[in-house]
Subunit: 179 residues, 2 copies
């Protein structure tokens, strides 16, 4: 990378924003049924529920408010602000997969992470387009052609994935990058 500071790209869903919790909240509301941690372990949400419910769940993503109401992952605000002191921080989210999410995602970032300039927000699809030294992401597929180091953010669906340094929460991120 050019410049003296290394660059960290950070995924949004499941890393900064707790999308799965909102999915499960709506699922339990609509089907009156809980999805157990055991059922989710090592699986995508879609693999853990009945396939005749997928359409309803895909519908959640299309609602205008889904990405607006997501909770912020604990400590992510404090740690990201600290990372900005030593690194160049970019947000890189695969928003192209859900085009209806653009505005909600942009506004969510402005509300919860106002210290991240919009020039450092990226809506993309294939993250191999991202030029950064590190990419913190829960989706290991995004690391396959990424040319920096992929740091796997722990999530129910990736517990069995190996080959990457793993962080379990933002305190782990802080330890890894800020000693």
């Amino acid at each position: 990378m050019s410049g003296s500071r290394k660059r960290i790209a950070v995924d949004m869903d499941e890393v900064m924003a707790d999308a799965v919790a909102e999915f499960l909240r709506r699922y339990e509301r609509d089907f009156n049924e809980q999805v157990s941690d055991e059922a989710l372990r090592g699986r995508r949400l879609w693999e853990a529920v009945r396939s005749d419910r997928h359409d309803t769940m895909l519908g959640y993503l299309q609602t205008e408010d889904f990405f607006s109401v997501l909770n912020v992952m604990p400590e992510s605000q404090r740690v990201l602000r600290a990372l900005q002191e030593k690194y160049e921080v970019f947000i890189a989210t695969a928003a192209m997969e859900v085009p209806t999410s653009f505005t909600a995602k942009y506004e969510w970032l402005g509300e919860h992470f106002p210290f991240i300039p919009s020039s450092h927000i990226v809506f993309c699809g294939d993250k191999s387009i991202i030029r950064a030294d590190y990419l913190i992401d829960d989706n290991p597929r995004q690391f396959l052609r990424f040319e920096g180091e992929g740091i796997l953010y722990n999530a129910h669906h990736n517990v069995n994935v190996t080959g990457y340094r793993r962080v379990h929460d933002w305190l782990d991120v802080e330890k890894m990058f800020l000693g």
Copy 2:
């Protein structure tokens, strides 16, 4: 770059989409005055018009339809399709500067460039985040920290800029990349 094919990132406004023409059309409608080519030469649009009209012009960008109605630059569709045969093509637009443009830009690409997969569309701000071998852009500021080669797409405001290979239209792009 990994993989065998080189990667070309392509800017939208003034490269694929004729935004200046639409600006001038609205300006002439509202102020009953033409902006001459001479006034635009070597200048940004903002520098070529009276400053008390800037607010009105900024308002154009906020209208829902501005980015929907832009004309496609001549030959860009045919040449981009041909480039895809030999290169990885990504679209990289500084949409973060105009957040109201997200949906219109996305739909415009789908309408006029349906052969470009959404996974290869990037809405960003600072294009130094783009990992590509080439960036075709009319804005030389975007080349300063870009690590590939910046190819300057000719525009009224950049005629005096030197230091980059320049293309005047999509036939020039075709010659440069497809011989």
